[in-house]
Amino acid sequence: MQMFPSSLFDNPERLNRWIEIAQSSFLPLLKGALTYTLSLSIISFAIGLVIAILTALARISGSKPLVAVARAYVSIIRGTPLLVQLFIIFFGLPSVGLTIDPFPSAVIGFSLNVGAYASEVVRAAILSIPKGQWEAAYSLGMTYRQALQRVILPQAARVSVPPLSNSYISLVKDTSLAAAILVPEMFRKAQEITATTYEPLLVYSEAAFIYWLICLVLSFIQDRIENRLDRYVA
């Protein structure tokens, strides 16, 4: 029975300690998730979506400079690691006199990241709407903007819900990288608790469990949104 010398089950004292730590750390972790992980991901996603729509429109505008700028942006963001981007914003920019707090730094990094990836989703969704929809909108006298807002984007939204949900769920998990630039979100909380309890397996598993719970809820919300947007499709 000495295969796992420090096995939990041989050691009732350690088991009790685990339960104690699990109980005392759960609320702080959950609080980190609710106050930082969620707000960080929601704010970044909202800003990122606006960037994505603008970038997608630039890509399909046919104007050479706009297309070039949009392509360069997407290429740079997609071609470099998110963690490196966050480090440049938080640790790098102060050396040119631009010091940004951890949370806004994270928002900038994540928004730019979402913007680049989601722009491809939005672009594909807009291009998937038949040309006749633009023509019908124009024939009613709509401007480009009205056609986009009233006719094209609502239909593109339906097409892009599944891939955008994917992006959002990825983002929720990616917010753990903000721990590295000192944002006190859930993963950083977990690191702090680990530092005092010396139980990384337990605490990080707990954090993982909470991420998974959040993503379960998000998948549920995604289904609801899809059902709602599908109501006009026979």
Binding site: Q133, E135, S139, L140, G141, R150, Q155, A234
Partner: protein, 246 residues
């Protein structure tokens, strides 16, 4: 009401319209016929600037647009021209995320900034007029092709256009649904609407048109009353085309 002069349209090397001139008086119904690739749909689409002509001019009511290869046409002028016209498409192009009622209200509310309540009342009366009073809250996907096309007509009429343009409005329909759409169009003609119709429905042309225009290879080959054109065509090409239809 409509004055088209010397209209040219090139798509790259393809010369689709080769100097088309045409005048349509208020309240008249003009039917354009011709083989596919003759430029009839392009001509119609030039009338509301869905295609920008390469050369020539289009005047509808008070609004006149001059086109040339280089000069860009003012967007506001294009919008004004479009507000004079209502367009009905071969594939309906209804907005699938809106109900029949919302489709018809959309133009007045978004473009003309009409009060939603009065726009709704008008939309209901237009949909009633095209026989769809019981389908107000149906989405396009829940309607037959003929019903969708009638919503399309109501949607165009909601903007109070001076001119209605029909681009092969029955070509995508099952044969048994063609009649209900043509009936609505005929009623519209009887009310004095100025209409330009591209169609293959010769019976409709014979019955409703004031003038029939035969186009081929980017030019108007012949035009006249339906009586003249169908029974005594002057041009050989017209005769050949009409024979093919029989």
């Amino acid at each position: 009401m409509i004055v088209i002069s010397n209209l040219h349209k090139r798509f790259g090397d393809l010369h689709v319209l080769k100097g088309v001139s045409l005048t349509v008086e208020k309240g008249k119904v003009v039917v354009i016929i011709g083989p596919s690739g003759s430029g009839k749909t392009t001509l119609l689409r030039c009338l509301n600037a869905l295609e920008l002509p390469t050369e020539g001019s289009v005047q509808i009511g008070e609004v006149k647009l001059d086109f040339s290869a280089r000069g860009r046409v003012d967007k506001a002028e294009i919008a004004r021209l479009r507000r004079q016209t209502g367009m009905v498409f071969q594939s309906y192009n209804l907005f699938p995320h809106m109900t029949a009622l919302q489709n018809v209200m959309e133009g007045p509310v978004t473009v003309k900034k009409e009060n939603p309540d009065s726009a709704r009342a008008k939309a209901v009366s237009l949909l009633t007029k095209v026989g769809l009073a019981d389908k107000l809250d149906h989405y396009p996907a829940q309607l037959s092709g003929g019903q969708q096309q009638r919503v399309g007509i109501a949607r165009a009429l909601a903007m109070d256009p001076q001119v209605m343009l029909f681009d092969e409005p029955t070509s995508a329909l099952d044969p048994e649904l063609v009649g209900e759409v043509l009936k609505v169009m005929k009623e519209l003609a009887l009310e004095g609407m100025t209409m330009v119709v591209v169609t293959h429905e010769m019976a409709f042309a014979r019955d409703v048109a004031d003038e029939v225009i035969f186009m081929d290879q980017g030019v108007i080959v012949e035009h006249g009353t339906p009586e003249q054109l169908f029974t005594r065509p002057r041009e050989e090409r017209t005769r050949q085309f009409l024979q093919l239809l029989q």
